[in-house]
C-alpha cells in the first residue's frame, strides 16, 4: 500500500466513524448501570425493573404552620404540576373511584381471599369463636355498618382484606378531605406523588424538571416551605456537578497546555494539530465502542478519555524530534519503533481488563485501545505531512530541566536492576499488606447535602423506613410465584409480624381452595347462625352466603389477569414486577436485618452492599490481571527485542511508580478502590511509553524533553481531577498525577550509565 492510498483509507475510516458517532450518539448516564451485573441475567433484569419503578417517582411536599396557607399553595402548585406536561401522573388525593373499582373487582373472589390477621387466626384457633367475636366487636364498634356490608360480608372478612391494602405502602399518610396530608412537628404537610414522563437519567428532561421545581419553590408565598425527593434530583445534581468539573478540568488543562506549547514551540499550530489528532482518535474510539456495546456509559467515556493524556506522548515525541531533526523522512523512522512498542505495551495491559467480565471496564479497555491506535496512526500518517517547526534553542530551560531529570538521584539508584527488584518487592509487600481499599459504591457519587436533608425531612414526615434491602422472587408461573412468596412471608412473619405479601392479597390457587373450604364450614356452622340471631340480623344472610358455595354458583379461581388492572397495579406498584425476561416476579422489602432462605428463585438484594462486594471482587481480579499482564509483557519484550533483564527493567520501572503512587495516595488520605487500579493501569500505559521511548532513543535528552512536556500536561489535567467532589475521581486524579511525576523521575534509569545521559 502506498503512502497516498494509506492516507485515503485512513481518512475514509475516520469519516465513517464521524458519521457513525453523530448518528449513534448514545450515552448511558444512569449511575445504577455503572454497578456490576449480578451473575444471573434474570436478577440483573429484575433489579433494573424494580429500580425503574422507584426511579420514575418524585415526592413533592408543601409545608406550613398555617394549614390554610399550606393547602392554598399546594392546590395552586398541583394545578401547575398537572398543566406542566412534564409528568405522567400527579397523585395528590385519595382516588375513591379507584378504591370502588377495586372493591367491585375483588368482591366476586371474596371467599377465595383472606386478610393476614384472619389467616393467622385460622391457623391458630380450631373453633370459630374468634371470628364470631371479632365480627361482633366490629358490628358493635365505633364505626358505622351498612346493609350492603352486612349482606355481602356479615363477618367482616372482606372488610379486613380491603383495610389491609394500605399496608402495601409504608407511608403514614392522613387526609384532609381527599388530599394527602400529615400534621407533624406542628406543621401541616401536603403531599403529591408524581410519576415522571421520561427517564430520570435523561439530562434534558432532568433539566426541565429541576427548572420547573426551582421555579415552583421560588414562587411560594412566605411562611410556606417546599420539599422534593426523587432519583431525578440526585441524578441531575450529579450530572451538573460532573459537567462543572469537566469544564474546570478541561479549561484549566487547556490553558496550561496552550501556554506550554506557545512557550516551547512558539506556535499554536502543533497544539491544534495534536488536539485534532487526539480528537479524531476519541471519535474513532467512541464509534467502535458504541458499535460493539450499543451504548457507552458516561463513566467509561470519562475514564476512556484519559487516554488523551497517554496519546499526547506520541504527539510530543514527534514534535520534539521534529524541532531537533530537520529531515522529515527520518523522524518517523527514528521514533517508530518506540511508538509501536509503547502502544503495544499499553494496549496489552488494557486488553487484560476485558477479562474481568465487568462491562464498564471492558468499555474503557476497548475505548482506550482504539483511541490510542487511532492517535498513533494520525501521528504517523498526518504529522509528517503537516508539521514544520522551527528549531528549538538548546539553551531552553526545559532542556536544562531534561538534563537534571536524566541525572536525578532516583534514576541513578534504579539504574541497578537488582536494587529496582528489591525496592519493587518491598513496595509490592507494602501494597499487599498496607493498602486499605474502600469499595463502597456510594463513593462514586457525591450526594448533595441539601437534597439529602430534603429526603430526610420527607421520610421523617411520612415515617418512611427503608433499609434499601429487598428480596426478589421469580417463577415461571404466577401460581408458583405466589406459593414461593407465601412461604417466604411466613418465614419473615416470625421475625416481624407487620410484613405483608402480594399472596396475602391475591393467594395462590391451593390457598384459595383452603380459604373457600374454611368459609363454607364457618357459614354452615351453629356459631354463625347464633351470631345472626343474637344480633337481630336477617336470617336470609345465612342462605345467601351458603348459596355461593353451591356447585351451581361455585366461584372459579381468581383470574390472574387482575394483576394487569390499573387499580391493582396502583396498589402493588412497588411489589409486583410482572413478566420480566419470560418469568413472573415480585419484590418483598426487608427490614431490621431480617433473614431469609435464598435459592435460585429467591435473591436478597442490597444493591449498594452487593455492588460494593462486586467492586471489591473486580478490584482484586483487576489487580491480578495487571500483574499477569506485566509478566506476559516481560516475556514478550524479552523474547521479541530486549532480552530478559532489560525487559524486566522496562516493565518494573512504571510498575514501581504506579505501586508507590497507590501507597502514597492512601498515605495522603485518599480513597483506594477499583478505580485506583485504573489509575495504576494508566500509569503503566504512560510509564511504559516513557521507558520504551528512552530505551529506543539514540538521543535521550531529546526524548526527556518530550517526556517533560508530556508529563506537565498529564500532571496538569489529572492533578485538577483531584479537586473533584467525587471521592473516586479525586483519588484517581491524584494517583495518576503522582505516578507520572514518579515515572518521569525514574524512567531515565533505563539508560545505560555514561552512554548518552546528559549530553544533548
Amino acid at each position: 500500500m502506498t503512502k497516498k492510498s494509506a492516507i485515503i483509507v485512513w481518512v475514509s475510516i475516520l469519516l465513517l466513524c464521524f458519521y457513525y458517532t453523530f448518528t449513534h450518539l448514545n450515552f448511558e448516564t444512569n449511575i445504577l448501570k455503572l454497578l456490576p451485573k449480578y451473575d444471573s441475567n434474570i436478577t440483573s433484569s429484575l433489579i433494573e425493573k424494580a429500580s425503574s419503578n422507584i426511579n420514575d417517582k418524585l415526592i413533592i411536599v408543601i409545608s406550613s404552620t398555617s394549614q390554610a396557607k399550606a393547602k392554598a399553595n399546594f392546590l395552586d402548585k398541583v394545578s401547575e404540576l398537572n398543566s406542566s406536561n412534564l409528568f405522567k401522573q400527579v397523585k395528590s388525593e385519595i382516588q375513591l373511584d379507584q378504591y370502588q373499582q377495586l372493591y367491585q373487582k375483588l368482591l366476586p373472589y371474596k371467599h377465595l381471599m383472606m386478610a393476614k390477621t384472619d389467616q393467622l387466626a385460622m391457623d391458630k384457633y380450631q373453633e370459630f369463636d374468634y371470628f364470631i367475636d371479632m365480627a361482633t366487636a366490629q358490628l358493635y364498634g365505633l364505626t358505622a355498618v351498612n346493609q350492603n356490608q352486612i349482606n355481602n360480608d356479615p363477618l367482616f372478612f372482606f372488610f379486613n382484606i380491603i383495610n389491609q391494602l394500605s399496608e402495601f405502602n409504608n407511608l403514614n399518610i392522613q387526609t384532609d378531605g381527599n388530599l394527602f396530608h400529615v400534621f407533624k412537628h406542628n406543621k401541616h404537610h401536603y403531599f403529591a406523588f408524581v410519576q415522571l414522563q421520561q427517564s430520570a437519567f435523561s439530562p434534558d428532561y432532568q433539566q426541565r424538571v429541576t427548572t420547573f421545581i426551582e421555579h415552583t419553590r421560588e414562587s411560594l408565598k412566605s411562611g410556606v416551605e417546599f420539599f422534593a425527593f426523587g432519583s431525578i434530583l440526585y441524578a441531575q445534581h450529579a450530572y451538573t456537578q460532573a459537567k462543572g468539573e469537566v469544564s474546570t478540568v478541561g479549561v484549566g488543562s487547556l490553558v496550561g497546555i496552550l501556554l506550554l506549547f506557545i512557550m516551547v514551540f512558539r506556535s499554536v499550530t502543533p497544539l491544534f494539530i495534536s488536539v485534532a489528532s487526539i480528537g479524531l482518535g476519541l471519535v474513532f474510539a467512541f464509534a467502535i465502542t458504541v458499535f460493539v456495546f450499543g451504548k457507552v456509559h458516561l463513566f467509561a467515556l470519562v475514564f476512556g478519555s484519559t487516554i488523551a493524556g497517554v496519546s499526547i506522548d506520541y504527539c510530543f515525541h514527534y514534535l520534539c524530534e521534529s524541532t531537533l531533526n530537520k529531515n522529515k523522512q527520518t523522524i518517523i523512522k527514528q521514533i517508530l519503533p518506540g511508538l509501536i512498542i509503547g502502544f503495544s505495551s499499553s494496549a496489552m495491559v488494557y486488553l487484560g481488563f476485558i477479562l474481568t467480565g465487568y462491562q464498564v471496564l471492558a468499555q474503557i479497555s476497548l475505548f482506550s485501545i482504539c483511541g490510542l491506535m487511532a492517535v498513533l496512526l494520525n501521528v504517523i500518517i498526518f504529522f509528517p505531512a503537516i508539521i514544520n517547526l522551527n528549531k528549538i534553542n538548546k539553551s531552553h530551560f526545559l532542556f536544562k530541566l531534561a538534563k537534571i531529570i536524566l541525572n536525578n538521584p532516583l534514576a541513578k539508584i534504579f539504574n541497578s536492576l537488582s536494587k529496582l527488584v528489591i525496592f519493587f518487592l518491598l513496595i509490592l509487600l507494602l501494597n499487599w499488606f498496607g493498602l486499605n481499599p474502600n469499595d463502597d459504591v456510594r463513593a462514586l457519587q457525591s450526594l448533595s447535602g441539601t437534597l439529602k436533608l430534603e429526603e430526610k425531612y420527607i421520610k421523617d414526615v411520612l415515617s418512611l423506613k427503608t433499609d434499601g434491602q429487598y428480596v426478589l422472587v421469580h417463577a415461571k408461573t404466577i401460581d408458583e410465584l405466589l406459593n414461593i412468596e407465601s412461604k417466604l412471608i411466613n418465614q419473615l412473619r416470625k421475625q416481624n409480624d407487620a410484613i405483608i405479601g402480594v399472596s396475602d392479597f391475591i393467594p395462590a390457587t391451593n390457598q384459595q381452595h383452603k380459604y373457600k373450604v374454611f368459609y363454607e364450614k364457618l357459614y354452615a356452622s351453629d356459631s354463625f347462625e347464633k351470631y345472626i340471631i343474637n344480633n337481630g340480623l336477617d336470617k336470609k344472610i345465612i342462605t345467601t352466603q351458603l348459596k355461593q358455595f353451591n356447585k351451581n354458583y361455585e366461584i372459579q379461581a381468581i383470574d390472574y389477569k387482575l394483576f394487569q388492572s390499573t387499580s391493582i397495579q396502583n396498589i402493588l406498584s412497588q411489589r409486583w414486577l410482572g413478566k420480566v425476561n419470560g418469568v413472573y416476579a415480585l419484590a418483598i422489602p426487608l427490614f431490621n436485618g431480617a433473614i431469609i432462605d435464598t435459592s435460585e428463585q429467591v435473591v436478597v438484594v442490597q444493591q449498594a452492599e452487593d455492588a460494593s462486594k462486586l467492586f471489591a471482587e473486580f478490584r482484586k481480579k483487576s489487580m491480578k490481571i495487571v500483574m499477569l499482564s506485566a509478566l506476559v509483557l516481560i516475556l514478550l519484550l524479552a523474547s521479541l527485542r530486549y532480552g530478559l533483564k532489560k525487559a524486566i527493567h522496562i516493565v518494573l520501572l512504571p510498575f514501581f511508580a504506579g505501586l508507590s503512587s497507590l501507597l502514597l495516595t492512601q498515605l495522603f488520605g485518599f480513597h483506594i478502590s477499583l478505580f485506583s487500579i485504573l489509575a495504576l493501569l494508566l500509569i503503566l500505559g504512560m510509564g511504559l511509553d516513557y521507558v520504551v521511548f528512552l530505551t529506543e532513543s539514540h538521543n535521550p535528552p531529546h526524548v526527556a524533553f518530550a517526556l517533560i512536556l508530556s508529563s506537565i500536561t498529564t500532571i496538569l489535567s489529572f492533578g485538577l481531577l483531584s479537586l473533584s467532589q467525587v471521592a473516586v475521581i479525586k483519588s484517581f486524579g491524584f494517583t495518576v498525577a503522582l505516578g507520572i511525576l514518579l515515572i518521569l523521575l525514574i524512567s531515565p534509569a533505563i539508560i545505560k550509565q555514561g552512554k548518552t545521559r546528559g549530553n544533548p
Binding site: 374468634y130 358493635y140 364498634g141 365505633l142 355498618v145 394500605s166 378531605g177 381527599n178 340480623l537
Partner: protein, 213 residues
C-alpha cells in the same frame, strides 16, 4: 395524637358550641380556652346503634379516656371486651385473644379526622369541614350543635353529627357534652351518651400514663 384528639374533641367542641347560642364565634373561642389545658379526660359511655335492617339496637357500654400527648382509649366492656388505643403511632386493638394488635381501619381514621378538626377549636377549620348550626333548646335547659359535612368525602359517609349537653342553672356556662349523635348516609343513627365525666388539668400521673402503654 391527632387521632386521640378526635373523641375528646367532641367534648371540647360541645362546650365550645354551647355559647353559639348567643354568639357562635365568641362561644367557640371561650370554650376552647376553657378546655385548652385539659390534660386528662375520662367518661363512661353507652352507645346505641340504630340500624334500619337490624331488628334491635346494638348496645355497647364502656369507658372513654384521653390523655394529652398520649392518646385515646375507647374501651368496650359489653357485649364483649375490646380496648382500642389510638396514638400517633397507630391504632391498636386488645381483645381476650390478642393484646395490642395493630389494625388499620379507614372508618376509625375518618372519624379521627373529623374529631381532630373539631378539637383544634379553630373556627375556620371547623367551618371548612362542617356547616355549624347551633340549636338552643330553651325549654329543657339543653343545648345542641349540628355539624353538617361540606366535603364530598365526608358527605359520602356522614349525614350529620350532633353534639348535645346541658346549661348551668344560670345558663351562663355549660356542664359539658353528654351526648353525641352520628347519623350516617344510610340513615342509621349512633347515639353515644357520656356519664361520670372527669376532667383533669394537672400533670398526668404515672398511673394514667401507664394506661396508654
Amino acid at each position: 395524637m391527632k387521632k386521640s384528639y378526635r373523641i375528646i374533641l367532641i367534648v371540647v367542641s360541645l362546650n365550645l358550641i354551647t355559647f353559639v347560642h348567643a354568639n357562635e364565634l365568641k362561644l367557640i373561642s371561650l370554650l376552647h380556652e376553657r378546655h385548652v389545658n385539659v390534660s386528662h379526660y375520662q367518661a363512661d359511655f353507652i352507645q346505641k346503634k340504630h340500624v334500619s335492617y337490624i331488628s334491635k339496637p346494638l348496645i355497647t357500654t364502656g369507658r372513654l379516656e384521653f390523655a394529652l400527648g398520649y392518646g385515646l382509649i375507647w374501651e368496650v366492656t359489653k357485649p364483649l371486651w375490646v380496648k382500642t388505643l389510638i396514638t400517633d403511632s397507630g391504632i391498636y386493638k386488645s381483645t381476650k385473644y390478642q393484646k395490642k394488635l395493630r389494625v388499620k381501619d379507614f372508618q376509625i381514621k375518618l372519624i379521627a379526622e373529623i374529631m381532630t378538626e373539631l378539637l383544634s377549636a379553630n373556627l375556620n377549620k371547623i367551618e371548612s369541614q362542617f356547616k355549624i348550626t347551633p340549636v338552643a333548646q330553651d325549654n329543657d335547659n339543653t343545648w345542641r350543635i349540628d355539624l353538617t359535612p361540606k366535603k364530598a368525602m365526608l358527605k359520602k359517609a356522614l349525614e350529620q353529627v350532633s353534639l348535645k349537653g346541658f346549661f348551668d342553672i344560670d345558663r351562663n356556662n355549660i356542664k359539658g357534652i353528654n351526648e353525641i349523635i352520628i347519623t350516617d348516609k344510610s340513615g342509621n343513627v349512633t347515639q353515644i351518651k357520656l356519664n361520670n365525666i372527669i376532667l383533669y388539668k394537672n400533670e398526668l400521673t404515672p398511673e394514667i400514663k401507664s394506661n396508654f402503654n
